[in-house]
């Protein structure tokens, strides 16, 4: 098992986790019912895989759950109570039937003490879970042996029907009557001490199931597809109709990358949707490496060793040069990782925008040249400096030139958000200036002044 290399900046760029005022990808997927499930999901988001077999195995599992509509067999509050109940493994709290004196009996009748109440709630919760799982296991007993969930299902079965839990499965009473002390003490001993490991395993299995059902549900409701991870292909990415999941009316795009086109040189106006597109591609790849459903119609990818993005860099004036320096250092880190032979997916949005144009121009050309020699890795570089693209275009490099067009409708630009081949030649800036007649106004003013002088 290998894990994907990434860093905080990338996770922030792709808005994987919550930030105030932004829908995070985690939130989109977090339809889990239990706290343990939510935590499990978070761990999955933090550790995507970097080997094809792990990815595909998990993808198959999630896909299975997306096709079959399971209902979570136990109620989430009960799970929470059990988790809390199991945390207390102090032997002294164990309920002892024989030691109950007459006085204690009276006291328990009048007002039960809190600790005992918790234990009793815990035991009752376990009884409920065993009862509910019993039904669930019988209902789904026909699960096919080749199904990806088969193994875990059987494990669940083994625990629930284990001899040590005999008598527990049927012990739940529907009218919530109190258990007598002897039975309570016996169940408590078995659940919390003798077979504690089994109950803990059961909880783990239930958390997993929670995640599977949640992810399957998201894939079904949002019409996401399952990506196929390729182990034998060296550099390959095929994305059909990829879109950004956080947008209400996203527009989908297609993208293919391989050894002969391992770098995308992306241009377009500020609002044309460059950042969104780069984010949706980065995100699909990230989710793909988790085995999760991706926001696209079809996706195949060669497994990467790491994903790094540079989008959304806060261009604050006060940060200035130190910011530029930090950016360069990050590029350096990525360059080192590349040099160590790792196959990466790297996104750079408007590299070097903090510096002057000449530097940005030179830097972009040099880096782009150097990057596209790394045939095993994939790059997307966006820039405002179209001239850099024109220079690179003459060199016959493994670059795909794509742009997001702007169409002027009168004075107002419209964005199609659909990728086109080439380098943008949008000149809406000058068009607006000309339309507003600013230059003419200034010319006329000068003419008038000259006339006044001559008079």
């Amino acid at each position: 098992m290998k894990y994907l290399l990434t860093d905080e900046q990338t996770i922030a760029d792709l808005s994987i986790f919550d930030k105030p005022g932004k829908t995070s990808i985690y939130t989109i997927f977090n339809k889990t019912k239990t706290q343990g499930g939510a935590h499990r999901l978070e761990m999955i988001f933090k550790n995507p895989w970097a080997d094809a077999s792990s990815i595909n195995r998990h993808a198959a599992l999630y896909q299975f759950f997306s096709q079959k509509e399971f209902v979570y067999p136990v109620d989430p509050i009960t799970i929470g109570i059990i988790a809390f109940y199991l945390e207390n493994d102090d032997v002294r709290t164990q309920i002892k039937p024989e030691s109950e004196s007459f006085g204690e009996k009276i006291r328990n009748m009048v007002s039960i003490d809190a600790e005992r109440q918790l234990i009793e709630d815990g035991v009752q919760a376990c009884l409920r879970v065993f009862y509910q799982l019993n039904i669930f296991l019988q209902q789904e007993d026909s699960i096919a042996a080749e199904s990806p969930y088969y193994e875990q299902f059987r494990r669940l079965e083994q625990i629930v029907y284990h001899d040590s839990f005999n008598g527990l499965r049927e012990a739940m009473n529907k009218d919530d009557r109190k258990l007598d002390t002897i039975r309570l003490a016996e169940f408590d001993k078995r659940l919390r001490f003798d077979h504690r490991e089994f109950v803990l395993q059961l909880l783990e299995l239930l958390y997993d199931l929670d995640v599977y059902i949640a992810v399957g549900q998201v894939a079904r409701n949002r019409k996401f597809c399952f990506a196929k991870a390729l182990a034998d292909r060296e550099n390959f990415l095929h994305l059909h109709q990829v879109f950004h999941p956080a947008l209400e009316q996203p527009i989908a795009n297609n993208l293919d990358m391989d050894r002969e086109g391992n770098l995308i040189f992306l241009t377009g106006a500020n609002m044309a949707g460059k950042s969104t597109l780069m984010k949706s591609i980065g995100l699909s790849l990230y989710l793909g490496h988790m085995g999760f459903p991706v926001p696209a119609e079809n996706m195949e990818f060669a497994v990467r060793d790491g994903i790094f993005t540079n989008i959304n860099l806060a261009d604050s004036l006060s940060a200035g040069a130190s910011h530029f320096y930090a950016e360069v250092l990050r590029v350096k880190e990525i360059a080192k990782t590349l040099q160590s032979g790792k196959r990466l997916f790297v996104v750079f949005d408007e590299l070097f925008r903090g510096t002057n144009v000449k530097d940005a121009y030179d830097g972009t050309i040099e880096l782009t040249r150097a990057f596209c020699r790394k045939k095993e890795s994939q790059f997307i570089i966006s820039t405002h400096i179209m001239e850099a693209g024109e220079v690179l275009l003459k060199e016959n490099l493994s670059i795909q030139y794509l742009y997001l067009p702007t169409i002027m409708e009168g004075n107002h630009p419209k964005y199609t958000r659909v990728l086109k081949t080439g380098i943008t030649d949008d000149r809406q800036g000058m068009i607006i200036i000309n339309n507003e007649g600013i230059l003419q106004m200034l010319d006329n003013g000068l003419k008038k002044q000259k006339e006044l002088c001559n008079l």
């Binding site: 959304n312 360069v328 590349l338 530097d359 040099e366 880096l367 150097a370 800036g429 507003e436 003013g445």
Partner: protein
């Protein structure tokens, strides 16, 4: 004639705002009275546009600074006295007397406090006169030759001498007859003079406040010159008044050289220098002191700045459009023959480089033709500067960056020419990124 400016300029230069840290208003606001504060704000909102007015106000402040006078007056009696002045005008002494009797009877009958309040306000009014008298005494005691505050001072003394209150004691309670006499004096016979007194006091409050700031911060005074002079603006060792450890720079713009093309790295101090120019220009038009060894300027009709426009990607195009519209409105004023000082920081940065280059060049070339206006234009696009080299009215300045151990450092000394700083590539080369990539 109104001085032309707009909200964005006021915001760029951080001029107004009592509750904004570092605003110029706060910087000069040491006034003691509410009315003084309002007057100060009004001065900030309406800079002067005539040479005589500007020079006479700055001379007044300079004089008050020289004699080192303080303004000792509490706001509370002033407010109370103002309240007194809102009272109705009695038709004469008899009417006042009757009114006072009525108040007294109300007090006896049902414990109304109006009479007490009235007495309190009367006392406040007497206190104001007494403080004004002290101020006048100080002014006369400290008076020096060529008193630039002479007219304001003599107006003060006139009011004080005309209103016959010298024989009244300050201590309450006043008899009914005295109260009525005061009413007749303050609200009837000398009402106008009394109102005038307040205005004079506010003015002294503001001028003395500004003078004390000037003393503390070692500020100096700019000299306004006639409209037809060749020099538009000239300053030596000019600094931003609120930055205590700023580095000063010298600077000159004339009719023949009326446009500064400013380049330099992001952190090199371009924006600060442009703000310094804008603020000094604005303060000078208010007749207020500035931080420089020497400054002369031609009185102009207004100022426009675009500094620190937030570079919000999400605003994207709308931001660019807004910027274009702003340039348009400035272009309109300029082409109408208005004499303006215009500062543009990184014009058209919201668009692609090609557009920004074309647009910056086209606009700059044309602006340079307006000899009666002064311009400062900064940009990252050095190439625009190279294209402007043959335009005679453009002067080139830059804020340099020095590389010390591959870390950039900034001198903040305005230098002649266009920047050739390549610290961007230097850093990339120092970090050997291209070598790493092989």
């Amino acid at each position: 004639m109104q001085f032309i400016t707009d909200k964005q300029t006021l915001a760029d230069l951080n001029l107004l705002g009592k509750y904004k840290s570092g605003s110029l208003f706060n910087f000069f606001n040491r006034v003691k009275t509410k009315g003084g504060e309002l007057l100060l704000e009004e001065m900030f909102r309406t800079p002067l546009t005539d040479v005589v007015g500007i020079n006479s106000r700055s001379a007044s402040i300079r004089y008050l600074q020289k004699i080192g006078i303080g303004f000792e007056m509490d706001n509370e009696p002033l407010e109370d006295a103002l309240q007194y002045l809102t009272g109705a005008r009695p038709s004469g002494f008899i009417a006042s007397l009757l009114g006072c009797y009525r108040l007294k009877i109300q007090e006896i009958l049902y414990h109304s406090d109006s009479f007490q309040v009235h007495q309190q306000q009367t006392k406040a009014m007497l206190q104001v006169f007494r403080s004004a008298n002290i101020l006048l005494g100080n002014l006369e005691k400290l008076e020096e030759k060529d008193n630039s505050c002479k007219s304001l001072q003599s107006r003060l003394s006139e009011v004080i001498k005309n209103v016959p209150i010298q024989h009244f004691e300050l201590d309450r309670p006043y008899s009914l007859q005295e109260t009525a006499q005061f009413q007749d004096l303050f609200l009837n016979k000398f009402r106008n003079q009394v109102e005038q007194l307040f205005h004079i006091l506010y003015e002294f409050d503001v001028l003395i406040s500004v003078a004390s700031v000037a003393t503390e911060r070692k500020l100096s005074y700019a000299k306004a010159s006639k409209e037809d002079s060749d020099i538009l603006m000239e300053a030596e060792n000019l600094k931003h008044p609120t930055l205590s450890d700023a580095i000063g720079n010298s600077f000159s713009l004339s009719r023949e050289k009326n446009l500064v093309f400013l380049t330099g790295a992001n952190m090199a101090g371009k924006s600060t220098w442009m703000k310094t120019l804008g603020v000094s220009f604005y303060l000078a038009h208010m007749g207020f002191p500035i931080a420089a060894d020497r400054m002369t300027f031609q009185v102009m009709e207004g100022i426009f700045t675009s500094i620190n426009v937030p570079d919000d990607i999400n605003a994207g195009w709308s931001h660019f459009y807004a910027e274009v519209m702003r340039v348009k409105s400035v272009a309109k004023e300029v082409s109408d023959g208005k004499r303006l000082f215009v500062l543009f920081d990184e014009l058209f940065k919201g668009t692609n480089v090609k557009d920004a280059y074309d647009a910056t060049l086209a606009v700059t070339e044309r602006l340079a033709g307006y000899k009666t206006c002064a311009f400062v234009i900064s940009t990252h696009i050095i190439e625009v500067g190279e294209a402007l080299l043959n335009t005679p009215s453009v002067i080139f300045r830059y804020m340099p960056t020095i590389m010390v151990n591959s870390k950039p450092q900034y001198t903040y000394h305005l230098t002649e020419g266009i920047t050739t700083d390549r610290q961007g590539m230097i850093i990339i080369e120092n970090e050997k990124i291209l070598e790493i990539l092989g």
